[in-house]
């Protein structure tokens, strides 16, 4: 009965919206269902000559309740609207051939894995280049444009063995490794690790270049074209220690796949290797950092540099106490289609381009390859999400967002520093709605430490009134809010709430010490930072202190749980994909790096430390009505964490409701099924309306 009625109400609401919109007079509030109207620009790829930008345009098919991705083309000169290149529903990863005549991309059809296709930019439909059982992805053109290296999970020995009939029902999975599944990716298939392959661009049978039980990734050609390079972690037992990857190379002409000892090692050091780039003289720059002697829960990424012949490695940016090759959080980064973080040597090899994340902004920056001096190139109070550059490393195609805009497509000239907008796919939508205003504030916490925060105010805000407040806490905990668009906050602000989102200690973009200071002390002082923010806003007089709520996801869910065990000040709370009990989280998370990064000892050696820091331990102190939102396929913070809060409160006959999302994982709020993202926002809206606005909402009655 109840759900029928609910559906009817939702329907009426959307009709109403259409009517108001058609009247065209006033702007309407931004609502949950605006998610269906967003368009995202993913994976911008500028042509080698800088005249055109190919990108992935991501939309919602609300009837199919899924995302659609297709390739589009923008003229770098601007002036004309971008046009579609492909009509597929799941096309991605456009990559220009060195001469700009062809776009390689990947296309998935039906339930088959994606394959590499080639689209001639002189006209004509795409042709399919690979037909591999394990699919093909991450195409990389050889410098001469004759070959394409790529990644594939194909295992020819197993996949072509017709005697290995698929059983009618999936058999029991034998798990021998401590890390065996990954949130949003599912079970790791040890028989199908991703390997490096190469294929002639003119067509032909793809050749496998690497083999064995380890994964190889980050496939790129060496500048000369003599090598296909890739990164790989080839330790037998990598689960409980720091990152350790090497950069390897194999000849593209290998007659049969090489394994381990057959690789040429280009970079070998004690640390991880993210993106990398090669200078003309052979120096390699990469994103990483040497593992410190004592483990941290947070280590800033640095730009690392080798000599011309490869290792040894030095850190270029260790004196720059902000995050390199990093960004900030948003709930409207492209939910599909991905993108590359900018990284390139200048043509003369004297500097490097990368992104830096600093005090809630993400900027394109130039790093001096000798001194490591960092020069920020794009303006603060924005976020550079993804980007690529021309062969001349002068012009960049960038997606850039800010607090009131999901990412738009820009052209950036590193010479003139001109940032020119090429495509704003959400301009009309954003024009038609009322957007909340955002005030950046900074306040001293209990110990004098300065905390940056943002206050979002409802449209038509007047400081003379009293508003309900929602404190939103980010996860990570080593992540950062900042100058990025949050649909969730806009919906809440449009519903009449002031939204406060601070970066407490532990957040990134404020330096190594500010981030790592919470090691072994989480949750703790970060909670005090958050409450100091609440006090700061309350002090301004426009908040009704009896109508304050707290919410957050992941690590923010942990802090939400923690906050309501520490204070009765919140009238409602929503804990989303939370952690509540460290012991069972230690045992069930997809990753295994708790010790010694987060805890000094495992729980079976010292349970007390885990118990002392677990919110559920103090559930008897909770008085705040709590909504627990959790996805059933969340392998990062498995749903047992949310269940613990629910059962603990229900056992005490306290007010709690659980909203469980089937078929979703830890990414629900960022890239989940469209209808469920909208439902999630509606639950936020209704729970707060029930407890802060005293609206008669019956959905959560027993």
């Amino acid at each position: 009965m109840r759900s029928v009625a609910l559906r009817a109400v939702v329907l009426c609401a959307s009709l109403l919206v259409i009517v108001v919109h058609a009247a065209g007079a006033a702007k309407r509030p931004m609502v949950e269902q605006d998610l269906y109207r967003f368009v995202w620009v993913a994976d911008p790829q500028i042509s080698p000559d800088g005249t055109r930008v190919a990108f992935v345009r991501v939309t919602v098919d609300s009837a199919g309740d899924e995302y659609r991705t297709s390739l589009w083309l923008a003229d770098a000169a601007g002036g004309t609207a971008p046009r579609p290149l492909t009509a597929g529903g799941r096309d991605g990863q456009p990559r220009w051939s060195p001469d700009g005549g062809t776009l390689a991309f990947v296309r998935a059809t039906g339930d088959q894995p994606a394959q590499i296709h080639l689209l001639p930019m002189t006209g004509g439909e795409p042709t399919q280049l690979t037909r591999l059982k394990g699919g093909a992805s991450s195409p990389a053109w050889s410098p001469d444009g004759k070959r394409i290296a790529f990644s594939s999970r194909t295992n020819p020995v197993l996949d072509d063995d017709t005697t290995r009939a698929k059983p009618k029902k999936e058999p029991g999975r034998v798990i021998t490794r401590p890390v065996f599944r990954v949130n949003n990716a599912g079970y790791i298939d040890p028989e199908h690790p991703s390997h490096v392959w190469v294929v002639e661009a003119a067509g032909g049978k793809p050749r496998q270049l690497t083999t064995g039980k380890f994964i190889e990734g980050g496939v790129e050609w060496s500048r000369t074209g003599a090598w296909v390079c890739f990164t790989s972690d080839r330790r037998k037992d990598p689960w409980f220690g720091g990152d350790d990857e090497n950069l390897y190379a194999v000849s593209p002409d290998l007659p049969r796949p090489a394994e381990g000892t057959g690789f040429h090692t280009r970079v070998d050091y004690d640390g991880g290797i993210g993106d990398w780039a090669e200078a003309a003289d052979g120096r390699i720059a990469f994103v990483g950092g040497i593992n410190p002697p004592e483990a941290h829960s947070y280590d800033q990424n640095d730009l690392m540099l080798t000599g011309a012949s490869g290792t040894p490695v030095r850190s270029l940016t260790s004196d720059y106490d902000f995050d390199v090759a990093a960004g900030i959080s948003a709930d409207q980064h492209p939910p599909r289609g991905g993108g590359e973080r900018p990284l390139a040597f200048s043509i003369d090899g004297r500097s490097l381009f990368t992104t830096v994340a600093k005090r809630g902004s993400a900027m394109l920056a130039r790093v001096d390859a000798a001194s490591g001096a960092v020069e920020e190139l794009t303006p603060a109070n924005r976020e550079v999400i993804a980007g690529t550059c021309t062969a001349g490393v002068r012009r960049w195609a960038l997606t850039v967002g800010d607090a009131t805009t999901p990412g738009d497509l820009f052209l950036f000239d590193a010479g003139t520093r001109e940032l020119k907008k090429l495509y704003g796919p959400n301009d009309a939508l954003l024009e038609s709605v009322t957007l909340a205003t955002i005030e950046e504030i900074e306040y001293p916490s209990f110990d004098g430490r300065s905390i940056q925060a943002w206050v979002m105010k409802p449209p038509g805000f007047t400081a003379a009134r009293k508003y309900p407040l929602v404190l939103s806490i980010h996860g990570g905990p080593h992540a950062a809010y900042g100058a990025a668009f949050f649909h969730e906050f806009q919906v809440l602000a449009n519903a009449g709430y002031v939204v406060l989102y601070p970066n407490p200690r532990g957040s990134t973009t404020y330096g190594q010490d500010f981030g790592n200071i919470i090691q072994y002390r989480y949750p703790g002082d970060d909670y005090k930072d958050l409450m100091a923010g609440v006090d700061e806003v309350v002090k301004r007089g426009y908040i009704d202190p009896k109508r304050m709520a707290v919410c957050g996801g992941s690590g923010g869910g942990l802090l939400t749980n923690w906050a309501i065990t520490q204070t009765p000040r919140f009238a409602a709370a929503i804990t989303d994909r939370c952690v509540s009990e460290w012991v069972s989280f230690y045992y069930s998370a997809d990753f295994a790096l708790f010790r010694p990064t987060w805890f000094k000892k495992p729980p079976f050696e010292d349970t007390q430390e885990s118990i002392t820091r677990s919110p559920v331990t103090y559930a008897s102190r909770i008085t705040t009505p709590l909504m627990i939102i959790h996805s059933e396929d969340d392998w990062r913070t498995p749903i047992g964490q949310g269940e613990a809060m629910f059962r603990a409160l229900k056992q005490q006959k306290k007010t709690a409701v659980m909203v469980r999302f089937p078929g979703e994982n830890h990414e629900l709020s960022r890239s989940g099924t469209p209808s469920r993202r909208v439902q999630r926002l509606q639950h936020y809206h209704k729970w707060f309306d029930k407890w802060l606005m005293a609206k008669p909402i019956k959905d959560y009655d027993e």
Binding site: E581, T617, R647, S675, D701
Partner: protein
Amino acid sequence: MNDPGVVSEAPVADETSSRPAAATGAALRPVRDDDLLRLTWVADPRMSPDGTRVAFTRVWVDAAADEYRTALSLAEGGDGAGAASVRPLTFGPRDSQPRWSPDGRFIAFVRSTGGKEPAQLYVLPLSGGEATLVCTLAKGAAEPAWSPDGRRIAFLSGTNLVLDAPGVEKPKNEPGRVVTRPVFRENDEGFTDFDRMSQVWVVDAQGGAATPLTRGPFAAGAPAWSADGRRILFVSDRRDEPWFGLEASVLYGVSPDRDTPADTGDLEIVVDFGGPIGSFAEHADGRIAAFGYRTIEPHTYTQPRLLITEGATPRREVRDLAPGVDDEFGGGINSDQHPPRGGGAVPLAFEAGGETVCCAVARHGAATLARVEIASGAVTPLTPEERDLIAGTTSADGRHWALTLGSPSRPGDLYRLDARTGAITLLWAPNEAVFAELALGEVEEFWYPSFDGTKIQAWLVKPPGFDPARKYPLLLEIHGGPHTAYGFGFFHEFHHLAGAGYLVLYTNPRGSTTYGEGFARTIQYRFPGDDARDLMAGVDAVIQRGCVDPAKVGVTGGSGGGLLTNWLVTQTDRFAAAVTQRCVSDWASFFYSADFAMFVPFWFRKSPVEDPREYLERSPVAFADRITTPLMIIHSEEDWRTPIAQGEAMFRALKQQRKTAVMVRFPGESHELSRSGTPSRRVQNQRHIRGWFDRWIKGEPRPEYGV
């Protein structure tokens, strides 16, 4: 397709003892894991009202489809009127719950046609002709019950006429589930849909529109008509907040003539004595016999009693018919070869005259049908001792019983019993052809004293061709519950392991049922603990015989037995290998995630929120640093009883220490994998258990386990 019902088999003559497996001629082979695929089960035997025929559900495996099949069969004869014969009545693939019309001319049953289609109500004429569909409901029909005049059929359905009306659109992707109740899902059932609870319905047996008689967010149990046909009786727990308290339910009555469904206030309370009610039976004079007990104090176990009520309703008083008999009334014992589909009724009926009641009683690892004299409370067994009474029903006069009985050497066979003469006749033994090929190990029952002198009952399966002069590897098997019992039931797994050369020991440590209420209750607030010592005393007792290599001892168990397996490897290094199945390892997270919520004050004095210490002290994973035994963890991914995080904890704890562990995760399975899971996965389950022991006890290579 392998439908054993089509092949007519000569029934074996009156013989209820465990038949020796030795057939003459061809060499016998050991039991294999995939022998499961060839077994046939007899489910839900239903004696015709006149006592001449037995309808039942035969269950078998369609190995190609990797599914169970169920269809109806009919057994006749064997009662002095001629030799027994069995023939199929329907051919499935999913027919079950046969119910005789009072005149014996029709059988109502439920049939599901498509793989995911709910079963609907059908009626099959026994005068010839195909079954006809009685009614079609969105959520199907279950548990049909004929009215005494044979005109109407009551049944259960979760159909919600408003929500399931045609034209109500379903969203493309399942929306988020709003959960407001602390207990919201159930192992093997899934999420509870409070808008679609099982309600009592009624329909004209000739067909037509079905009418719901009850409503509300409470489930009704199987309906039965009162003898006078004026009301339909059913058991239901209709408390608003039943989650954390004592168990209780009420026997309600509802008129079959209602035109609007009744909520709790409109129902007639027939029996409400402040405790749970299991099966019940009504005599023509209105007295009702039922299994149940009063709940006064929170115990982890209260032994069900045989109760009787009479007089005007609501009846608040009940009489315990046999207060001096410390056995489990309505109880049974464990087996991994009870029918995986098709179910069956716990025997309970008045005999003609109403001075006696016949019902199932479990004692010392055996389940029997027994007669209880209402006046004296005297209990007299009617079926042979040392058997596993699985299910049974009786004729209208309570004299002729259709029963399924198992033994340590056979899954359940179909029998008829004349309760007046005591004559028992085998009607169908569907697995004789399979067992004729098998060398079955001897199963020896014995008792041993535990550390404190407590007597413990146990069984030992010996490898075929056992030679007491040799040294054998030994496997200890531990049952779950913990309030259940091993006994004289058939275990495919144990015979398979014995066939692989292992001695297999299974015991009933304290906490087990069938040894009286005190024996079971003693583990409250102490689980695991002394039960583990009982188990080790059993291992020592077998080793003392001199036929065991003490360096080659393994341990395994499921659920509560998985908890004890985990516990044992933290307490001793005597085991060379262990397999923990669907285990509990960390009581606090189990408290938070189990499908049920009755931990406090039953299993623990306080919740982990109030006292985490008690939970830690009893959690095996808290002592994982002491483990040296290589451990295999088998767990099902959709186990809502002991969620898979329990197994993951043991795995991660051992892997973090770089100790030997492997995890086998079964997708699409629940806590019931070993008993009623998908056939192929049950075979794999046994293969993995054996594989791990073969690796660590026999030293055979098993590279698939990474060791």
